[in-house]
C-alpha cells in the first residue's frame, strides 16, 4: 500500500522529505525573456520568443508536461475562423464575438486572426488536430478532405444560449459557421514541452514565482525579473530578464475550500490561486473587471465532478432523457440546437415543474445508446476522452463495465441542485489590462491567456501566448540590461521564508477557509458599501493578525501558504473594485443593493484599479477602448509572418 500511514506502519517511522532542502540558498538566472507560467499560453509564449533568437526561461509551478488548465487535455479549439472550412470572415467574426459586453476585443481579434496558425504549429510539434486514423468517418462536421472535425459549438451564434432575438434554438439547416474545431488535446501539452526543450527554452519546473522585480525596486517601474521558490527544495530563485510574459492562472477558490477536499473545491486545480495577478498588482500593474464574479461552478467536492455548464451527460449531441426514457427539452450543445447548452430560465423552470408534477421521472440520463454510432464515438472518445480531466472519468466508467452503446449515463444536474449563492468564484473575468502589444501598464511586462482580463478558452491562451511572446521578444531586443535591487530581493526573501521559521501557529488551509468565510459573509450576492467595508476590515485583520502566524513544515506547504497569502490580496482587490462600481450589472454578475439600477448607461464602462505609492487608485475606460479591431491589429502586426515553417 502507498498511503503515508501504511508507510509509517510498515517502516516504523515517517518518510524523510525526498528532495534536498535548500532554504535560503539562492540561484540566479539571467535571461532575455522570462515566461511565468508553463500552461498552454506560457509554452507558446516561450516558443515564439525563443524563435526570435533570444534566450528564454520558462518557470512553472508544477511540471510543464501536464500543468495548467489544459494540461490533462482540451477538447475544442473554440475560435479558429481562419480555418479552411470556416464560413465566416475572421475580422467580422471577431467583431461579432466582441459584441458581448465586457469582453476583451484585443484578445479576441488576435485569437480570430491567429488561432488557425496555432493549430498548424501544434500539428508540426506533434499534436493531433485531424482524424488521420479515420476513426470518425461519417460524423457530422468531419471534412473528408482535410480530416478536420468541426464541432457543433457556436454553429450559428456565439453564445451557449438559444438565439437571443427569437428565444428559440436556431435553424440547424442554415449555413454553419464552422469556427470551432474538435482536437485531440491530450497530445498538446507534452508536445509543447518537447518543443520548448528542442528549441532551447530553459524550463524551471516546480518553481513558484513569488514576486516581480522592478527597476530600482520601485512600484510602477519597468519589470526586470522575478523571484521564485522551488516548491520541492525551498531554494530561492532570482530571475533577471529584459522582459517578462505573465501567463499564470486565475484565482480558483476564494469563496470556498473544503479542507479535506482541498484540491476539489471547484472545477479548477489547487494550483490556481491568482499568484500572477497579485504579483503584478504589487508591482503596480493596472487591472480591470475585478468586481466581476459568478456562482461557483459544479464539482465542488460536494458535487459530482463533471462539466460546469452542461447538464452533465448532455455534452455534445447526447439526448437527455428521464428515468422512463422521455426526452427532456434540455439543450444538448448539438447540431440540433446549434451548440446551445444552457437552458433558458423558462425551460429550466418547466423541467423543475415537470419533476414536481411527475411529468419527468428522476434521475435523468444521457442517452448515449440512442445516438448514431459514429456520433456517439465522437462525443465519448474524442470530445470527452480528449478533454481536460474527463478522460479519466470515461476510462473509469468503461473499466467498471459501462458500455456507451448499451447504457444510459446518469445526470446529476437536477438532483444535486445549484451551488449556494454565497459560494462564488472570481471566475475568469478580472485581470491585467493590456494594449495591442499585449503589454500591461508596466514596461517590460506582457500578459497572455487567463492573466488578461476577460480571457476565453485554451485556443485563446495559445494565440495570445504566442503573440505576447513575440512582442516581449521584440521589446527585449531593443532594451538595455536591467539592474536588480538587492534590497527588493531581501525584502521578498524575508516574506517568503517567514512561515518556515515557525513550526506552529496557523496552517494554510485554516487561513484559506478564513478568507473564504469572510468573502461568503460580506462579498456575496448581497453587496452594500457597509458590507464591503466590513469585508475589507475583516481581511485586513487576517492580514495583520493571522498571516504572521502562518507556519509551513516543508517547501510544498510553504508554497501553499504563499498561495493563500496571494488569495488574501486578490480578495481585497475584488472588494476595492466592488466598492468602486456604484451600479449593478447583469453581465458582470454584480448586484449592489445600495445601487440597484441594472447597467445604467453611465456605468457601461471598464473600471481600472492599481496601486500607486501603495495606495489604491481607480480609473475608467470606455466599453470598447481597444478601438477598431481590424485596423489596430493590422497596424501592430505589419511584420507578422504567419505559421512558423519548420526547418
Amino acid at each position: 500500500m502507498s498511503t503515508w500511514h501504511d508507510y509509517l506502519k510498515e517502516e516504523g517511522h515517517v518518510p524523510d522529505w525526498p528532495y534536498p532542502i535548500r532554504f535560503d540558498h539562492e540561484q540566479e538566472i539571467d535571461t532575455d525573456v522570462l515566461v511565468i507560467g508553463g500552461g498552454i499560453a506560457g509554452c507558446w509564449a516561450a516558443i515564439s520568443a525563443v524563435r526570435q533568437g533570444l534566450s528564454v526561461a520558462l518557470v512553472e509551478k508544477g511540471d510543464t508536461i501536464r500543468s495548467g488548465a489544459g494540461g490533462p487535455g482540451c477538447d475544442h479549439w473554440c475560435n479558429a475562423p481562419a480555418n479552411p472550412l470556416s464560413n465566416v470572415d475572421p475580422d467580422e467574426w471577431a467583431q461579432h464575438m466582441a459584441d458581448r459586453p465586457y469582453c476583451n476585443g484585443t484578445g479576441i481579434q488576435i485569437q480570430c486572426r491567429e488561432d488557425w496558425d496555432t493549430l498548424l504549429e501544434m500539428e508540426q510539434m506533434g499534436g493531433k488536430i485531424r482524424d488521420t486514423d479515420d476513426e470518425y468517418v461519417g460524423a457530422k462536421g468531419r471534412d473528408d478532405k482535410t480530416k478536420l472535425m468541426i464541432s457543433p459549438r457556436y454553429t450559428r451564434i456565439h453564445s451557449y444560449l438559444p438565439d437571443a432575438d427569437t428565444g428559440k434554438a436556431p435553424d440547424p439547416d442554415e449555413k454553419l459557421n464552422n469556427v470551432v474545431i474538435r482536437v485531440w488535446g491530450t497530445t498538446f501539452k507534452p508536445a509543447l514541452k518537447k518543443e520548448c526543450k528542442r528549441l532551447g527554452v530553459k524550463i524551471f519546473d516546480r518553481v513558484m514565482v513569488t514576486s516581480l522585480l522592478t527597476e530600482t525596486g520601485v512600484q510602477g517601474a519597468r519589470i526586470i525579473g522575478a523571484t521564485g521558490l522551488n516548491n520541492r527544495t525551498g531554494e530561492f530563485m532570482i530571475f533577471k530578464s529584459k522582459s517578462a510574459v505573465l501567463a499564470t492562472a486565475g484565482a480558483g477558490s476564494i469563496w470556498m475550500i473544503s479542507t479535506e477536499l482541498g484540491g476539489y473545491s471547484n472545477m479548477m486545480s489547487r494550483t490556481i490561486t491568482g499568484d500572477g495577478t497579485v504579483m503584478a498588482w504589487n508591482a503596480g500593474a493596472e487591472l480591470t473587471k475585478m468586481e466581476s464574479t459568478g456562482v461557483l461552478r459544479i464539482a465542488t467536492g460536494y458535487k459530482h465532478k463533471w462539466y460546469s455548464g452542461a447538464g452533465d451527460a448532455s455534452y455534445e449531441n447526447v439526448p437527455i432523457v428521464d428515468a422512463n426514457g422521455k426526452v427532456l427539452p434540455y439543450p444538448i450543445q448539438g447540431w440540433v440546437d446549434a451548440g446551445a447548452m444552457v437552458p433558458s430560465p423558462e425551460v429550466e423552470e418547466a423541467i423543475r415543474k415537470g419533476i414536481l408534477s411527475g411529468e419527468y421521472a428522476l434521475p435523468f440520463y444521457g442517452d448515449f445508446p440512442a445516438m448514431p454510432e459514429v456520433e456517439r464515438n465522437a462525443t465519448w472518445k474524442l470530445m470527452l476522452g480528449e478533454e481536460s480531466t474527463t478522460k479519466i472519468i470515461m476510462d473509469t466508467f468503461n473499466a467498471a463495465g459501462y458500455d456507451q452503446s448499451r447504457d444510459l449515463l446518469q445526470s446529476y444536474k437536477f438532483i444535486e441542485g445549484n451551488s449556494l449563492s454565497q459560494w462564488r468564484e472570481a471566475g475568469y473575468g478580472g485581470g491585467l489590462l493590456v494594449d495591442w502589444n499585449l503589454k500591461t501598464s508596466l514596461d517590460g511586462l506582457y500578459a497572455a491567456g487567463t492573466q488578461m482580463f476577460s480571457p476565453e478558452d485554451h485556443s485563446y491562451a495559445a494565440a495570445t501566448g504566442r503573440y505576447a511572446g513575440r512582442k516581449a521578444a521584440a521589446y527585449a531586443r531593443e532594451i538595455g540590461e536591467p539592474k536588480i535591487s538587492r534590497e527588493q530581493v531581501e525584502r521578498e526573501k524575508a516574506r517568503v521564508y517567514a512561515p518556515v521559521k515557525r513550526s506552529s501557529g496557523l496552517e494554510w488551509k485554516e487561513l484559506h477557509a478564513g478568507i473564504a468565510r469572510v468573502m461568503q459573509y460580506y462579498v456575496s450576492e448581497f453587496k452594500t458599501e457597509s458590507l464591503l467595508n466590513m469585508g475589507l476590515n475583516a481581511l485586513r485583520k487576517i492580514e495583520e493578525e493571522s498571516v504572521p502566524l502562518l507556519f509551513a513544515l516543508d517547501p510544498h506547504k510553504l508554497m501553499r501558504s504563499l498561495e493563500d497569502v496571494s488569495l488574501l490580496t486578490y480578495a481585497q482587490i475584488i472588494i476595492h473594485a466592488s466598492l468602486a462600481r456604484k451600479a449593478s450589472s447583469v453581465p458582470l454578475n454584480f448586484q449592489r443593493i445600495d445601487y440597484p439600477t441594472l447597467d445604467p448607461p453611465e456605468w457601461r464602462k471598464f473600471l481600472t484599479i492599481k496601486l500607486e505609492n501603495g495606495k489604491v487608485k481607480t480609473g475608467e475606460l470606455p466599453p470598447t477602448f481597444w478601438g477598431n479591431m481590424k485596423n489596430q491589429y493590422e497596424a501592430h502586426n505589419k511584420d507578422y509572418t504567419g505559421v512558423y515553417r519548420e526547418k
Partner: protein
C-alpha cells in the same frame, strides 16, 4: 484480535486514496510523480517501489497520473465513494455504479 501494534496517529485526511498502486506491476519509475501538477505523490525512498501518496486531499482528480503511466495496470483510479457515478442498462433497467 490482531496482535498488530497500535500507534497514536491523527485522523487520516479523507478521501485518502485517489489511486491504488499495484506493486507487482509498478516499477517505481515515478513518472506519475512528475506529471502531477499538485505534487500529490512523493517518490518512495526505496527505489522500485510505488510512490507514496502524501497530499491526497490536494488531488483535483485530473487523471494525468493514471493516464500517463507507461505500465498498464500499475495504477488504478479510485474515485472517492461520494463521487462514484451511476449508469443504467437501457434494455434491462439494471443500475450500476463505478
Amino acid at each position: 484480535m490482531s496482535q498488530e501494534k497500535v500507534i497514536a496517529i491523527p485522523n487520516i485526511t479523507t478521501p485518502n486514496n485517489p489511486v491504488i498502486f499495484n506493486p507487482d506491476i509498478c516499477n517505481g519509475c515515478n513518472h506519475c510523480v512528475e506529471v502531477c501538477q499538485i505534487d500529490v505523490y512523493i517518490p518512495h525512498p526505496e527505489k522500485g517501489k510505488p510512490p507514496i501518496i502524501l497530499h491526497p486531499e490536494e488531488c483535483w482528480y485530473c487523471g494525468c497520473c493514471a493516464n500517463d503511466c507507461p505500465h498498464p495496470g500499475a495504477i488504478t483510479f479510485n474515485w472517492p465513494l461520494q463521487q462514484r457515478g451511476y449508469w443504467k442498462n437501457k434494455a434491462t433497467g439494471e443500475i450500476h455504479q463505478i
